[in-house]
């Protein structure tokens, strides 16, 4: 779906091969019945393909195949969408990127190395400032013992039991900083959440004087506001890439269906109204892929327009992605709303990606703010 280098093609192909065999739709339906579908061994084998290394520079143990790690990771995330594969791909990569950019040497040697070799996964505990999932925010109190974190994080994705959470907490002066918190740190309590994705699981996190060492801080004191914005850009691009994958899979499935299915003695695809809808959907798919690829290039290169394009990609793909798949459901008729059909696994993944870590509406608003600023009249 993307124009990319031969090395990127290879990365995508090996990922696609692995996911296709490992995460068949039937297997995903089975896993949906389990409490804890995460499989450490399978995750490690994926990590061996390079899944967590791309946003980390070579001197920190990672490596890009093209010089733009986010553009590389685009194809991996796209394939995750096409297979509705469990992760936690995005969170682990985003936290790895944060550690690589702003982490200490100790953090590189410890947690980051674990993410890079698949021993651990990570989640970014982002909470929107407003709306239904706005968290209370964490407070950080420093003492000789370290930093004690208290508060709730509305939602993090699950992964390895002993993985990491990247959480922002405000000190007494209101300065927000990021901390890397082990999931199994004392004072960290998680509660399972439910949701529409079949294999991705989420938890809410409550911290009560969860104490980490002062060395757990990631980045300069007070840098979390700025850093959150960059992590949001990375997350948005990767979510958009997954959405494009779900769109492609649903579209392709449906195109085949219009070929095979006959209605009133004619293939479904011979009806002009169906043809025109498919043309609209194909165009939306191409447009989603185009804006997402462009966003990956800009964000990966750290260009001045990076934030604008990341916001546009998430706003657009997040809006049209789930709607495209719903139209595919409609074109399938009743079978499209049955559990045994595959369409819904892509619809679920697309919708979760669209709504979490900033809704399309939130990114649309962000885009306007960025434009205001660029025009010189912004707030």
């Amino acid at each position: 779906m993307f124009t990319q280098t031969a090395d990127q093609d290879l990365l995508e192909a090996t990922t696609a091969d692995y996911l296709r065999v490992t995460w068949t739709p039937a297997r995903i339906r089975e896993l949906s019945r389990l409490d804890s579908p995460f499989d450490p061994a399978l995750w490690r084998r994926g990590v061996d393909l390079g899944w967590t290394a791309l946003l980390v520079p070579a001197d920190s143990g990672g490596g890009s195949v093209s010089g733009n790690g986010l553009a590389d990771l685009l194809a991996v995330a796209y394939q995750f969408g096409r297979h509705a594969a469990p992760g936690p791909l995005i969170g682990t990569n985003v936290v790895a990127a944060a550690l690589a950019r702003w982490g200490t040497k100790e953090q590189h040697g410890g947690p980051l190395a674990e993410l890079l070799d698949g021993a651990a996964t990570a989640a970014w505990g982002y909470a929107p400032r407003t709306g239904p999932r706005s968290g209370n925010g964490l407070r950080a109190v420093s003492s000789d013992d370290g930093v004690a974190l208290t508060g709730t994080v509305p939602l993090v994705e699950t992964g390895t039991a002993s993985g990491y959470l990247l959480l922002a907490a405000a000190d007494a002066q209101g300065l927000r900083s990021h901390y890397l918190v082990p999931r199994d740190a004392p004072g960290v309590r998680t509660s399972p959440l439910r949701g529409i994705d079949l294999t991705r699981r989420y938890q809410s996190v409550t911290l009560q004087d969860a104490t980490v060492s002062a060395a757990a801080r990631v980045g300069e004191p007070g840098s979390a506001d700025d850093h959150d914005e960059l992590l949001l850009d990375l997350t948005a691009v990767l979510q958009a890439a997954e959405i494009v994958g779900t769109m492609e899979r649903a579209f392709t499935t449906t195109l085949q269906w219009t070929h095979d299915r006959y209605s009133f003695g004619r293939p479904l695809g011979s009806y002009q109204e169906i043809k025109h809808r498919m043309a609209d959907l194909r165009t939306q798919l191409e447009a989603s892929a185009a804006v997402t690829a462009k966003a990956a290039r800009h964000v990966g290169e750290g260009s001045p327009d990076a934030r604008l394009w990341a916001s546009t990609a998430k706003a657009y793909a997040g809006q049209v992605g789930p709607e495209l798949i719903q139209d595919c459901v409609q074109l399938h008729g009743g079978i499209g709303v049955t559990f045994e059909h595959d369409l819904h696994i892509y619809l679920r993944r697309a919708t979760v990606n669209a709504q979490l870590f900033g809704t399309p509406a939130a990114f649309t608003d962000r885009l306007v703010s960025l434009t205001e600023t660029a025009l010189g009249g912004g707030k």
């Binding site: 929107p128 407003t130 709306g131 239904p132 999932r133 706005s134 509305p154 939602l155 509660s191 399972p192 959440l193 439910r194 949701g195 529409i196 994705d197 989420y202 809410s204 269906w257 095979d260 299915r261 006959y262 209605s263 009133f264 003695g265 004619r266 293939p267 479904l268 009806y271 109204e273 789930p322 709607e323 719903q326 459901v329 409609q330 008729g333 009743g334 079978i335 499209g336 709303v337 049955t338 559990f339 045994e340 059909h341 819904h344 619809l347 679920r348 919708t351 979760v352 709504q355 979490l356 809704t359 509406a361 939130a362």
Partner: protein, 423 residues
Amino acid sequence: MIDVDEFATRARGWLAENLPPADPTRDTFFLHAATHPTDEEVLARAATCRELQRRLFDGGFAGICVPPEYGGQGLTPAHQAAFNREIRGYDYPAEIQASTFIPCMAVLLEFGTEEQKLRHIPRMLRGEEIWVQLLSEPGGGSDAAGAVTTATRDGENWVLNGSKVWTTSGWWGDWALCLARTNWDVEKHRGLTVFSVPMSAPGLEIRQVELVNGSKDFCQEFLTDVVVPDTDRIGDVDAGWGVMTRWLYHERTISGGSPYVTGGGNRPNAGPYDIGSLIEAARAFGTLDDSRTRALLGEAQTNVLVLRALVEAVTRKMAGGALPYHAAAMTRLFGGTSNARRAAIATELYGEAGVVWSPDEETAAQVGLGYLTRQAACIGGGTTEMARNVISERLLGMPREQRADTVAFRDVPRGPQAGGSGA
């Protein structure tokens, strides 16, 4: 005949004495439920429905528009409408209005022999026979006349083979109307026949179909050499399409206008999409004064109110002859698309909360799962695409689509997946 007001008064008194109040927390409609009843719970509710129906029968309120010779009250649609107003707030056997009374009883009344009517209708009215529809087929889609389930004559019997799907309540129904092909050598509409079939018939296997939201109320049936006596044939041999036309008509009266159902018919309640529920959610999220939120809330409620006005206007115009019968396709189209849009609006309003929720957030769960099945509103009971065909061809008189199925049915192209589940 008892006058309508008097009848309403009598009903009011009887209901207060005899029917339990409705439980507003119980959502009997699969589309909105986030958790689904166990099979045992479904059967218990079915038993309650039978018992409630029996009470209505004993009280003289079952089959208000059904002739007395078949156990009904022989009154008018106005009486039924009055009763439907009175019964609001009471528990009533909502789950068996459709499909037992419409379309099944309605079809029997029109096409059944005297013996068939005397045999079944009183039992329906007493809650002893729950009827379901063996109509759609896995390979059929929108084309009801394209049924390939086949009935072959064998002396005084017919032998049925094939598969049916989308049978609401199929696994706990007693009897079914079943559409089958009895002649493959004529054009598709001219080779169909309707039968009544007991759901317990040997050779009839029933499998519950799980929907995306966890509901298991629909069934698929596999018919293998199911023997049906010719006396259970409904209407003439190969005249099934005439029966079907009325069958489908009665099925569509579920959205209003049937004289044969008690209460409002099985219309889904508004659930999480009810404007009160949406406003409450927005208030809880702190977004109620946000103008974008208000635009979405207003759009949702506009959809509801316009649909109500449209149903009333079209019903009135059809009754007065200002619009032909096919105009009902406009309400089906508007109802389907506006319902789907409301599901999208709810998802937008809930945002993060509509895709991941804590176990106690029941309404959020309904929004999340409701979004996954939202297209059911544009599929079930005839797709919105079919409605658009009807409106353009029948109401507007635009040219008919080119057809490839006007030859003998056996020669109609059915594609690589014909007869399969298509999945």
